[in-house]
């Protein structure tokens, strides 16, 4: 899976790569790279498709528990009738989705109607290529990996437009435009929030960014980017923007089930709908993976004593933790209104991200400060983060406060 000189690593660390190489060792040398790439793609797809299936279940379980319900717990294993605490639920859902009628509206653009979910899924899978899953597990080593990630992410917007337009339904189209407005608005804070990381790391390569977070202060305290003032602010901005980019609650206006029908997905059914659903979860996973990579130290262990656990284990743990927060937030917050959504992006997140860029620049410039100056460094950076947050937050709250309705 990687161009790393992985042989120096312990066996457990490079187990997936070793397995893959064992599978392809019988092939002639010239074909091996192709087989290796295909195997990597299949592995990534299988892992994340399984994760998708489990996430749908986990999400419903967590939502259920938050509302003091058990969540899905009945679906039995096929032909056996044994209940598995709902573990067979994704299977049942999948069969249901596959066997449903695939409806294409009359007059719809059939080609685009079909291509939209496929393109969306393809673009979301592309983003998995540059995330370092472990010390030896980086599918594609790219010089401009972060840029690649966001370029592939930007292409998904085209697929959403295709879905809305091909449905030949004015509500689908309007909803697609709204979805695009949201995605484009939040792309800005998302990109601006990662610029400080690139600035500090001096690299667009994900593996290098992770490597740089692999040191420990005083031997115990991990130096992940999130544990710096600018990194903390950047991570929060990134997280909020990621919520909006992956159409997750509380920013799930594009497909607000209870208010709009399903936005650009209105005219989709059956397997195509399942593909959209899958792409949404893939996008969520990819953005979480990027967040882990950029801010949470990637596959690095939190303390050196725990470094014996394989790096992909740490990555998976962090990824799952972040995905849990996604679901926790979904269980907590009500949906925003469209004006609140755009105001949050343009009046709050973007200015904060721009200020954060200055904070990061200060952090880089003051990297030599030591002793009492280090304390001053933290103080200044903290003020630079907290001050704008308080000022902008006050103005934001003023607009978000209780409203009086004239005719209510």
């Amino acid at each position: 899976m990687s161009a790393h000189p992985a042989n120096a690593l312990p066996l457990l660390e490079r187990l997936p790569v070793a397995l893959r190489d064992a599978c392809t060792s019988w092939l002639p040398e010239s074909w091996r790279w192709l087989a290796n790439s295909l195997l990597s793609i299949v592995a990534i797809f299988v892992v994340f498709a399984t994760l998708f299936a489990l996430l749908t279940l986990a999400e419903r379980k967590i939502l259920g528990r938050v509302q003091n319900r058990p969540g899905p717990n009945r679906a039995p294993l096929p032909f056996l009738g044994i209940r598995t605490y709902g573990l067979a639920q994704p299977l049942a859902d999948g069969i249901k989705m596959l066997t449903k009628e695939d409806i294409v509206p009359r007059g719809a653009d059939r080609v685009l109607h079909f291509l939209a979910p496929v393109a969306l899924l393809a673009f979301s899978i592309l983003t998995f290529a540059v995330i370092p899953y472990g010390r030896a597990l980086l599918p594609v080593e790219l010089d401009a990996a972060v840029l690649y990630f966001f370029a592939a992410g930007a292409a998904t917007e085209l697929a959403i437009f295709m879905a809305g337009w091909a449905s030949r339904n004015k509500y689908s189209l309007l909803a697609a435009m709204r979805a695009l407005a949201q995605l484009i608005s939040y792309e800005l804070p998302l990109l601006l929030s990662i610029v400080p990381v690139v600035l500090v790391a001096g690299s667009l390569s994900t593996s290098e960014i992770v490597e740089q977070q692999g040191t420990w202060l005083f031997g115990v305290f991990p130096q992940w980017h999130v544990f710096t003032p600018w990194g903390f602010a950047g991570f929060l901005i990134f997280f909020v923007a990621a919520l909006a980019e992956s159409n997750r609650s509380p920013f799930d206006l594009p497909e607000a089930e209870s208010e709009l029908i399903a936005g650009h997905l209105t005219e989709y059914s059956g397997f195509k709908y399942a593909l959209f659903f899958m792409a949404e979860y893939f996008g969520m996973c990819a953005l979480s993976g990027m967040g882990v990579t950029l801010f949470l130290g990637g596959w690095q262990a939190p303390i050196p004593a725990l470094a014996f656990i394989p790096s992909y284990g740490w990555f998976a743990a962090k990824l799952l933790a972040l995905l849990f927060v996604f679901m926790w937030i979904r269980a907590t917050f009500p949906r925003l209104r469209i004006d609140q959504l755009t105001r949050l992006a343009w009046k709050f997140l973007v200015p904060l991200a721009l200020v954060n860029l200055f904070t990061a620049a200060f952090w880089v410039l003051s990297s030599g400060w030591a002793g009492p100056l280090a304390f001053a460094r933290w103080l200044v950076a903290g003020t630079l983060v907290l001050g704008p947050f308080l000022v902008l937050g006050r103005r934001l709250s003023a607009g978000l406060g209780p409203r009086t309705y004239r005719y209510a």
């Binding site: 938050v66 003091n68 319900r69 926790w328 937030i329 269980a331 308080l390 006050r394």
Partner: protein, 232 residues
């Protein structure tokens, strides 16, 4: 500060998430087919007919096919035919008692007008059926349920009904005893019309059974029912 409210909200949901695992008071779900909540005593949905002897459900129906309920029913979902013997004499029990619960509005008027405490409200709610056209049309056999069942679902109400019935029975017995000695007319006039009617029903002895009375108040106006059975 912006965000404190968000954190509070997250704390609330986290508390629920954790609490639902260890705090039974929070975990309020009843897993329906296996677990059922006890229905409130006064819950009612559709009527059923009470019979006294489980060994003979159709023979001991309290219903005398008086058709009061059929006439009172607002959506007219009851259909009754009285059973008659070969000579065409009315037997004062229903040959047909059909109740379409897809029409019934659960208004309980049939129960209130029944002079014989023969029709009561049921609590059976699993009434889904695969038969679209006749599945919800209940017949006499489906409707007939024992007094013990009635006690089980509406204990307080059933006890009251039984007490009233027993009282009337006693009264009737006293009246009979009185009739044996003095003039029979006196007993009939002392008994209130409705109780007289029910008493006659509950008594094993044949009831007066005015040929289908139009309504309950009419029954007493006619002195005939108080008389010893005209045609039994």
């Amino acid at each position: 500060m912006l965000g404190s409210g968000l954190l509070q909200g997250l704390a609330v949901t986290a508390k629920n998430l954790a609490g639902s695992f260890h705090d039974p008071a929070r975990y309020v779900t009843t897993e329906y087919p296996e677990q059922r909540t006890k229905l409130p005593e006064n819950y009612r949905n559709f009527p059923f007919l009470v019979h006294d002897d489980p060994a003979d459900p159709n023979g001991t129906l309290r219903c005398v096919a008086c058709q009061i309920c059929e006439k009172e029913c607002p959506p007219q979902c009851i259909y009754i035919v009285m059973e008659r013997d070969e000579k065409g004499k009315a037997l004062r029990r229903p040959k047909v008692f059909d109740l379409d619960i897809s029409v019934c509005i659960s208004c309980q008027i049939c129960v209130e007008v029944c002079p014989f405490d023969a029709i009561k409200m049921d609590q059976e709610y699993e009434i889904a059926t695969r038969n679209r056209f006749g599945g919800l049309l209940l017949h006499r056999e489906d409707l007939s349920k024992s007094n013990a069942y009635y006690h089980q679902i509406h204990p307080t109400e059933a006890a009251g009904v039984d007490a009233a019935l027993a009282e009337q029975k006693a009264k009737q017995a006293a009246a009979k005893a009185a009739k044996a000695a003095p003039a029979p007319k006196a007993a009939a006039t002392t008994a209130t019309p409705a109780t007289a009617a029910t008493a006659q029903d509950s008594a094993i002895s044949p009831a007066p059974a005015a040929p289908p009375p139009a309504s309950a108040p009419d029954t007493p106006a006619n002195p005939a029912p108080a008389n010893p059975p005209p045609d039994a």
